[in-house]
């Protein structure tokens, strides 16, 4: 993979940059590079149905993500952080995780949420301001997908603590990949500047935790380019923490799958923490409050649009024999999914006022009880007086 225009100047500062793992060339041909060779066996686990599922996950995510941006523009949500462009990084890694694995997202991992079984309307609830956390991460239906975490990098420490607990419980390295747990934390290039992320690396490496740090380098922390965050390719930082790392073409869903599959299994088998840097790009805005035209050049955007992960995989699938009927069916599925999401979004009302108080603490709290009673009495006094 060639480095993007935004990254070129970094190269002079490092002795050796290994090529990022890539199976699919930019034009969708299956052409594994040398770095991809060791990961080829992991692709052999996949059949045509898996490939088509990857495509469907990406296409559905692209569509509902666009719908959510529209809903925000129409005043139906306070905010939406688009995942456009990052679908391959997310879907490949999420499909690589096994059922027992535990995922700690940042706040843009909508495709991962979809793959793990979270109802996307639960994400909408958070962004619409009707729920703080959206989904119950302890409900098995949500696939061990923990709640979004908005303070940049915080979740990497939560993942590290959770993985420490997995280690203490002996719930890894038993030799059974179907039950041994690996913990995966998603974070971005901006987050790598946060102290919490470095502390997570230190604690995880110190304990040799069963976890994977999945870094989506989408090249932007809102308006600040990754070159401001780091003068070296980010995956090279891991070596300083004693963490094995690899860089992948994050817009190649097969690379994301195979590399994540291997390193999750390495981690669950007692190999200690691993880091994957997925080189991808945020095609859209940081959030709907943002205007990328202020800081992103048309050339940068064009460079990455030409590397669109979904178009690339479509080309590959067509070469493998997928026909228009398949793509039409996915298109319909994505439209239906997004229409249903829109309808259910519009039906979401404000939560009851009692939710201000109900879970401020787990155990009874006199101040909370008093204030809850006061608000109820105050509100009913207004109603009665009307």
């Amino acid at each position: 993979m060639k480095l993007a225009p935004t990254q070129k100047h970094e190269v002079s500062h490092v002795a050796e940059v290994s090529p990022a793992v890539q199976f699919l060339s930019i034009d969708g041909a299956f052409a594994p590079n040398e770095a991809a060779e060791e990961y080829l066996p992991y692709l052999q686990e996949l059949d045509e149905a898996d490939h088509r599922r990857f495509y469907t996950d990406m296409a559905v995510t692209r569509r509902f993500d666009e719908e959510c941006t529209n809903l925000q523009r129409q005043g139906q949500m306070g905010l939406w952080p688009p995942s456009h462009g990052q679908e391959a990084a997310q879907v490949g890694s999420a499909r690589a995780a096994r059922a027992q694995d535990v995922i700690f997202p940042s706040y843009r991992e909508h495709a991962v949420a979809l793959v793990r079984g979270v109802d996307i309307v639960d994400i909408v609830k958070v962004m619409r301001g009707v729920s703080m956390g959206g989904w119950d991460a302890t409900d098995p239906a949500n696939g061990n997908f923990r709640n979004y975490c908005l303070v940049i990098g915080s979740q990497t420490l939560h993942a590290t603590g959770y993985a420490t607990g997995v280690r203490f419980d002996g719930a890894y390295a038993t030799g059974d990949v179907e039950s041994d747990i690996a913990v995966m934390a998603y974070f971005g290039d901006g987050a790598t500047s946060q102290g919490d992320v470095s502390e997570a690396f230190v604690f995880s490496a110190s304990g040799q935790n069963p976890q994977v740090f999945f870094l989506q380098n989408n090249h932007w922390a809102i308006s600040v380019p990754v070159t401001t965050q780091s003068r070296t390719p980010l995956y090279l930082r891991a070596a300083g923490f004693g963490i094995p790392s690899v860089q992948i073409d994050g817009n190649d869903v097969l690379a994301s799958y195979a590399v994540s599959r291997k390193h999750l299994d390495d981690a669950r088998s007692g190999g200690g923490p691993q880091l994957i840097e997925a080189m991808t790009y945020r095609i859209g805005a940081h959030t709907t409050s943002d205007d990328p035209s202020r800081y992103q050049t048309p050339e940068q955007l064009a460079y990455w649009v030409a590397r669109d992960p979904i178009i690339r995989f479509e080309t590959y699938l067509r070469a493998q024999g997928a026909d228009d009927a398949f793509f039409d069916e996915v298109h319909t599925q994505a439209e239906d999914f997004s229409a249903d999401l829109r309808q259910r979004t519009l039906e979401l009302g404000a939560p009851p006022l009692s939710t201000i108080f109900d879970n401020a603490y787990s155990e009874p709290h006199p101040v909370i009880d008093e204030q809850k009673a006061w608000l109820q009495a105050y509100e009913s006094s207004l109603t009665e007086g009307a």
């Binding site: 729920s131 703080m132 956390g133 119950d136 991460a137 302890t138 409900d139 923990r146 709640n147 975490c149 303070v151 915080s154 990497t156 420490l157 939560h158 993942a159 590290t160 603590g161 959770y162 993985a163 420490t164 607990g165 997995v166 203490f168 419980d169 102290g195 919490d196 502390e199 997570a200 230190v202 604690f203 110190s206 939710t355 109900d358 879970n359 401020a360 603490y361 787990s362 155990e363 709290h365 006199p366 101040v367």
Partner: protein, 328 residues
């Protein structure tokens, strides 16, 4: 066989309480800097790693946010971590994880993910230490919704309150008055103490109520002793719980004495003492014979320790305020 009551310093009483909690529930973990082999810089965890192992009493890397952030993850996995922050002034690197994550997880997850995490913080002055080692930062945490904040002043409270804090399903900030680590006091191993969140009357009196927490309580008792010799009867209250505050005993005392002096080592502006003064003024207005007065550390950074005795409120400063209240 352990005697039902034993004379112990606070540090050893806390050690006994932590040992009891570790023995009672194998999901209880201790984690912090130097708490294992060394037994903590104040030896509060002495011997516990040898007894319970390195996976129960964990020497962590030197990073406070890492300690609290990973404790949050351990709590999600079903553990009950007890973190030690080595000194009061070193808690701020963990401030985000405490206030934005630990305090808010229960609300964020609509109760699905409780946070039974205790954060032990040796705090306060009087020990002649260098900068960052003598602070009283409790107000930051009392101000933060989602946290509970307590401070024992005696060995007996240390033994019982640490166990009650560990048993709580909410996050508890546990402020240990480090100048009180060494003086001995009776610990009753058989009889449960007062509930965690309760104010206690530690000396009855009729003329003025004084209230404080942690190391301040010793100064209040000393002041009451001196005042008694002058014929002034001071009622002394040990706050014990800074959030939530148990107001019933405070209001009952003020209704009796008509005068209140709120005392603390911490800086006074926007402090726990300010909150208590405001609440008493609201709720006991007609019982008050004088304005509620506050005795606090000055609103300055903690000074060089050779002059800390002029910064920290002591019995004389308490008595000066008592005189003002009585003169009103």
């Amino acid at each position: 066989m352990v005697a039902a009551t034993e004379e112990l310093p606070l540090a050893k009483a806390l050690n006994a309480g932590l040992r009891a909690a570790l023995a009672a529930d194998d999901r209880v973990l201790l984690m912090g800097e130097d708490i294992g082999k060394l037994g903590g810089v104040f030896r509060v965890t002495e011997g516990l790693q040898a007894e319970f192992g390195t996976n129960r009493v964990i020497d962590t890397p030197l990073a406070e946010s890492g300690i609290v952030g990973s404790a949050i993850g351990l709590a999600m996995r079903g553990y009950r971590p007890v973190c030690e922050i080595q000194f009061d002034g070193f808690i701020y690197p963990a401030f985000d994880q405490i206030t934005s994550q630990l305090a808010k997880f229960t609300a964020r997850t609509a109760g699905a993910v409780p946070m039974p995490v205790v954060i032990r913080v040796p705090y306060g002055g009087h020990i002649g230490a260098v900068e960052h080692h003598q602070e009283s930062p409790e107000a930051y945490f009392a101000h933060t919704a989602g946290l509970r904040v307590v401070s024992p002043s005696t060995p007996n409270d240390g033994y019982w309150m640490i166990q009650e804090a560990i048993a709580s399903n909410d996050p508890v900030m546990f402020f240990e008055p480090k100048s009180r680590y060494w003086p001995k006091g009776p610990v009753d191993f058989a009889l449960s103490a007062a509930p965690l969140h309760s104010t206690r009357v530690v000396r009855t009196g009729t003329d003025v109520t004084v209230i404080g927490h942690g190391a301040m309580v010793a100064g209040l008792l000393q002041a009451a002793q001196v005042a008694a010799e002058e014929g002034i009867s001071i009622e002394v209250l040990d706050l014990r719980s800074l959030s939530p505050v148990d107001y019933a005993p405070i209001l009952a005392s003020v209704e009796k004495t008509g005068r209140l002096v709120v005392c603390q080592e911490a800086t006074g502006f926007a402090s726990v003492g300010s909150e208590i003064a405001a609440t008493v003024a609201e709720r006991a207005f007609y019982s008050l014979e004088s304005p509620v007065l506050r005795v606090s550390g000055f609103d300055t950074p903690y000074p060089a320790s050779k002059i800390e005795s002029f910064y920290l409120p002591d019995a004389d400063r308490v008595l000066e305020a008592v005189d003002r209240a009585l003169a009103f």
